[in-house]
Amino acid sequence: MRDINAPANPLEMLAYILASQIHDHKVVYVGTGLPMIAGILAKKTHAPNITMVYESGGQDPLPGDMPWSVGCPFTWRKSPVVMEMAYSFAQCYNGYVDIAFLGFAQVDMYGNVNTHQIGKDLLNPTVRMTGSGGNNDLSSLAEEVVLVGLQTPEKFVKEVDFITSVGHLRGGETRKEAGLLGKGPVAVVSQCGVFDFEPVSKRMRVKSLMPGWTFDFAQLFTGFELMRPEGDIPQTEVIPEDILKLLRTEVDPRGVFTTMPTS
């Protein structure tokens, strides 16, 4: 069993930072895993009036246990309406969704996401992963996208092995020129801190760092050259004790998404 008084682990810290990106009264599109945790945590704390939307069609469910699939009953528990999948994504296109939260296996300096494979050859990859699911749809259509994942130089790469979902493509105006909607990724959240994208080049830039982290240390965890903000780098807010307890007792009591993976 988990020690509920133990210091926060990196995933719990991530969940909190992610939750803090969610503002009250917004319509929030969530994918599997940490995004679900963040949405539910935000709803239980500072953003009780958000509406959560899931790609299986569930939206605005009554609170319940942690969903184990985006199709599981907890994503459509007493929902007033359950959308067909095409209509659910269409809500992003039509401007009804404010922000989407997505995971990645690799992300590059422009926020392009790979969830397809490690290796360049689709027909014979080093490892085949999930492919898009709804990742591409949300990246293409949502007004704002926040990416979340653990950071290593192998995950934060100069160039992703496969562009599953376009972030800022090749920087500058290239996302817009490709015909995509919305602002693209506005933040990337990892155990190192929070990143944003420099407004002109659209390159990933440090926004704030977790306690104990320095720019150089974060750079060591990154496979491309990070941009540095002007002035001092602020510290990322750490999960307060009462919220950590809430996360462990009410949001993800069995630690499905917030215990560190073991072999």
């Binding site: 999948m85 376009v166 995509l180």
Partner: protein, 362 residues
């Protein structure tokens, strides 16, 4: 006979030498012809699962998955396809990845992918192995929304739709069906993706209720199933319960109309070991054992399916293996509690790990 202009870059990247293998999925005329010839009269279409699969799933068919992940998915019908040893199927793995196991069993040779995996339980190591061993050939890559729009376009009665999804991504380089075009109504540059209407040969949809004519009622997420039912050349409905027609009329909810449907199978527990809204929860440890042990090697997977698919005659034997009446009672409470139709319960359970097998699979 229609001829097609596929995305040439994708054909080359996917090393598809004879693109005629792609035709049937977008061959609207032949689908329309099949639909025109379907039985219009209200006739009793009930038959056994064995008969439905033997008659309506033919070698070489393009089959699309139904339900979502482990929710309302016709797993027991898929097991029957494995038992009947169908061959050379093309599978549309959207929104699920269940055809991975049919690839392993040599029923499926081709896949159209939008998602391969088991969500929080990680990547599908079996599919990964099958792909790298050359036992499955990818015919197209999609996003979930892309496939959903292709099927929806068919249901809407259109040759296809324009979308903003997948633009700029590498998915376009690996999908012969997708083409980037300029929006014909705009003067300024406005790239769009043309997604053709998709017409699978066969789909199997598991529903809560159906009448004997094929009117089929779905509760919970319908995902792509209403569109798929309208598009597919052959539709098999498996249902938890067969009810009088008046029951469906009284509900007037999300219903697949009888004249789309070729076969009706009364199949209680047809979505086991997945979740069936209103009826039973999913078998958590079963999936964990499949993913954490079964999928790790060909040998383990064979052993797993020998036990759970080929070692059982039907879904009732499967349910007996899961725990029988006790499993049924618990699984019913669990799904109702999850749906908000039962007092809240504790969802704690003993997870299956490689070092801990409780012997219980729910």
């Amino acid at each position: 006979m229609a001829t097609y202009q596929y995305n040439q870059e994708a054909l080359a990247n996917l090393k598809i030498e004879d693109p005629s293998i792609l035709d049937r999925l977008i061959d609207f005329e032949s689908a329309r012809l099949v639909h025109l010839k379907k039985e219009r009269a209200k006739v009793d279409k009930r038959m056994s699962l064995k008969e439905a699969i033997a008659t309506y799933v033919e070698d070489g068919d393009v089959m699309t998955d139904a339900g979502f992940a482990y929710v309302r998915t016709p797993h027991q019908a898929y097991w029957e396809i494995m038992r009947q040893d169908k061959k050379r199927l093309q599978c549309i793995g959207a929104p699920n990845t269940n055809h991975s196991f049919l690839i392993f069993n040599n029923n499926v040779d081709y896949s159209h992918n939008s998602y391969v995996g088991v969500e929080m339980r990680g990547i599908d190591r079996n599919y990964d192995r099958m792909l790298r061993a050359g036992r499955v050939k990818i015919l197209s890559e999609w996003s979930h929304g892309g496939v959903a729009l292709g099927l929806k376009a068919a249901q809407l009665g259109t040759p296809g739709v324009f979308s903003k999804q997948m633009l700029g991504s590498d998915i376009l380089k690996y999908n012969p069906y997708l083409k980037v075009m300029q929006n014909p109504m705009r003067d300024d540059p406005d790239p769009v993706v043309f997604i053709p209407a998709l017409y699978p040969d066969v789909t199997i949809i598991h529903c809560q209720l159906a009448d004997k004519y094929g009117n089929a009622y779905i509760y919970g997420p319908t995902v792509n199933d209403l569109a798929t039912a309208a598009a597919a050349r052959k539709v098999i409905i498996t249902a938890e319960e067969i009810v009088p027609e008046s029951d469906i009329r009284n509900r007037q909810g999300t219903v697949i109309p009888f004249f789309y449907v070729d076969a009706v199978v009364e199949l209680p527990f047809g979505a086991v070991p997945g979740n069936m809204p209103g009826y039973y929860y999913w078998s958590r440890q079963w999936w964990e054992k499949l993913i954490r042990l079964g999928c790790t090697s060909d040998e383990n997977l064979k052993k797993f399916f020998d036990e759970w698919v080929f070692g059982v005659k039907d879904q009732f034997e499967f349910v007996d293996k899961l725990g029988g009446a006790k499993w049924i009672a618990e699984a019913r409470i669990q799904t109702k509690a999850a749906e908000g139709d039962h007092e809240d319960i504790d969802f704690t359970y003993e997870e299956y790990t490689r070092t801990h097998d409780s012997g219980l699979y729910y």
